[in-house]
Amino acid sequence: MSKTSEIVRRDFLKTGGALVVGFSLRDKLSAQERGTKAGPPDAKQVDTWLAIHADNSATVYIGFAELGQGASTALLQIAAEELDLDMSQIKTVRLDTNVTPNQGGTYSSASINRGGPQVRTAAAEARLALLKLASAKLNTPQDQLTVSKGVVSGTGNSKDSVTYGELVGDKPFNVTFTGNAPVKPTTAYKIVGTKYPRNDTPAKVGAQYAYMQYVRVPGMLHGRVVRPRGQRMYGAGAKIVSVDEASIRSIAGARVVRKGDFLGVVAENEWDAIRAAQQLKVVWETPPPLPGNAGLYEHMRAAKTEENIVLERGNLAAGFNGAAHTAAHTCRGPYQAHAPFGPNCAVADVKADSALVMCSTQDVYGTRNSLSRLLGMPVDKIRVQYYEGSGTYGHSCYDDVAQAAVLLSQLAGKPVRLQFMRWDEHGWDNYGPGHVGEVRAAADANGKIVAYEYQGWQHGWINTETSAQLTGVPPTEWPGAGTGVQGVNRLTCGGMYDIPNLRLVNHKLAVTSYLKAGWLRSPLDLSFAFASEQAIDQLAYLTRADSYEFRKKNMTDIRWLGVLNAAAQAAKWTPRRSAANVSQANVVTGRGIGVGTHLTSYGAAVAEIEVNKDTGRVVAKHLYGAIDAGQVVNPGFVESQIMGQMVQTASRMFKEEVKFDQAGVTSLDWATYPILRFDECPEVTAVVVQRIDQKSTGAGEECMAAAAAAIANAFFDATGVRMKEFPLTPVRVLAALGGSKTA
């Protein structure tokens, strides 16, 4: 611990008595007591966040879901650090609306960004209270106490010691959480900033992990929903003309349940439920026509939209008029699916006046609100518990499956476990929305970017889950459509460069006229970067500059420069003009660079790809990703996140596109919605730019845009051709390269 910081802490201890006013130990607060009352528990109480047990261990109550990103371990690292506990002495519990605090949903890469400071300050407050108790017990001034592994020892005349467990031992702190307790200086960190291994891994490889899909309750039925295979236009829902219940009479154990157009089957035996859902004869109303993939982008571009200017500065016309070089580029980005590897699952037990729901929601309190509206039941009668499912990467069908399970349980009068089938999840997902982007950028004779305009077309997110909609709730739009992460991104679209004249325009489409959309990992950023960073790259090309050097020259923000340099160095980038090595060979290689982000972090990437001009197949051979997410609590986890982002970006750039025709979605499984496999997996180099003194920001989706851009620019380097639409499938690539086969 550095001297200055120690003094700050000690001074605070001397003067900070006000913090622990009213500190007295009540009776033992049992685990049962914790779960008896509907939450959220009072965030202003330290007890809400933390408990110290008699065995000198601690439980931290965290409001963020473990989604496979390691957040549950990383947040414990933060708490252990502040409490001076060993990682073996600290654990957390399952998210539960009767138990854990409401920290908001686990999205927008928020676990460490938003959750970290709360956990850190709560732990610091608890430590302060513990030191006060120890001071009295050891009859030693607080500023002469040190803590190691939860053992408080005197450093002055008395060398006596006492453990946290002896001081508190399962009793509540009864201390107000002020948020003002001094936290450790970063220079004193022993646990934060280290690559502590994930605590969930052993159970996950050892067949002991309680995935949602394994949850069973006594007396439950198995349920399945019955819907058309593949969603229709969001505004249309799915309307039943007739249901032939006799069609499942051969399956003795199964029965039909229905509320409006919400249709399902339940059975004691899971296989019976599966067979019944497939066998049930239902006539659905013909839905209004969708544009389909073939007409999507023209439809979006021609549709009536609401415009808003996201950002504007300088004089755009003057900037373009005075420029020496202008580049224009278009992007057409498809709907892409969350497609969690295991379809969502939920167990619900709805009684007349209460409900217990177990599901994989990223926001237990948000889901509780939606279930309250659906059931017409007060929130304090509903308990939602989180069980990890498979990686969801945004708003997949976890709320929908919870709603559907609740409806099935209510209709059947018994607890119901509902497992979505593969086609339910793929076909009724809230996809990352399609996008049309048009960008113009200009540079002066010295290679400085002088003007930039981005116009983007997309619709916002849905706010009515399918199950609720089928019971008659009108389809509505998620608030804020056309702005923030639902509109043109001011960071990814030119935000990293010093551009004097700039305008970003958003064109919002009607959400009800297209497929359902929701937040997907780095939702529209791949599309933005695909357009924007190709235009910037083209300016580099037109000014005969190296792509990396050109970007460097147009940046002054040290954090953007930091990640750009980190990616370039990792890839051993050597300056040359792009497309300088274009050849007539059948198999060619290229390298590209790109920058971009999702929210507040900084991402850069380099891609090395191979293009087979005969087959149209493009493969990423090596992807380098760099992230600056401020203080990185566990660099190992961020490296792992970068690896995942690189592989998933390759998948989205080369493979992924939700297919649909006029009637509805036809991408219903892994054959009709292919993703990247082992055979085309790139080598990945992950670079964490550690800035221990900066606020932690997101790291789960912050270099996908950069990677998408790097791949697109590498394609140009390899072929001299700029792609205007992704994924870069063989058919599309051959068409772009002027091959004989067309799309």
């Binding site: 490889v205 067949a207 899909q213 089938m421 593969r422 792992s640 499984d669 054959a671 496999r677 990945v684």
Partner: protein, 165 residues
């Protein structure tokens, strides 16, 4: 009906056309094999049947007969049998390697990944990178953990070559 799972005989009540997966999950309450697609496309339900990786979601109970089924739970014992070890290790070397490489993210696909790579290493003790990619190509991962899975398989291969620890 009697089936043999993880070296134990079980009496099960399911109808003969029931896919093995639902018997393992619901009647035997095992937590290795898991539902992913029900179409044999992803590999999350994989088990070994007489040592051969098999998609339990499309394998009817009637096709199992007297064959020996091994799930993730039974993998250390299966390995011990193969290597003629006195007693099973806590984890199969592939499982341990997945921990050592910190390969897991959500982990849902890792049942299939571990089952398939165990089968691979039982046939090809020192696979090349290309052999690993080919063998594993029918197993999908949404989190993008492929690079670390490949490293873990190489690591396990070395450990196993060193005496089947």
């Amino acid at each position: 009906m009697q089936i043999r799972v993880n070296e134990r005989s079980w009496t099960v009540n399911a109808a003969p056309d029931t896919p093995l997966l639902y018997v393992l999950m619901n009647e035997l309450q095992l937590q290795g094999p898991r539902f992913g697609c029900g179409l044999a496309q992803c590999g999350s339900c994989s088990v070994l049947v007489n040592g051969v990786e098999t998609r339990s979601c499309v394998t009817p109970l009637s096709a199992v007969g007297s064959k020996s089924v091994t799930t993730l739970e039974g993998l250390p014992a299966w390995y011990a049998g193969q290597k003629k070890l006195a007693k099973p290790p806590a984890l199969h070397p592939v499982q341990q390697a997945m921990i050592d490489e910190q390969a897991v993210q959500c982990g849902y696909c890792f049942n299939g990944m571990i089952i398939k790579s165990s089968e691979l290493l039982s046939k090809i003790p020192r696979p090349t990178d290309a052999q690993i990619r080919t063998a594993m190509n029918g197993h999908l991962c949404r989190c993008g953990t492929y690079p670390r899975i490949m490293k873990a398989i190489q690591r396990a291969s070395l450990v196993m070559a060193g005496g089947g620890k």
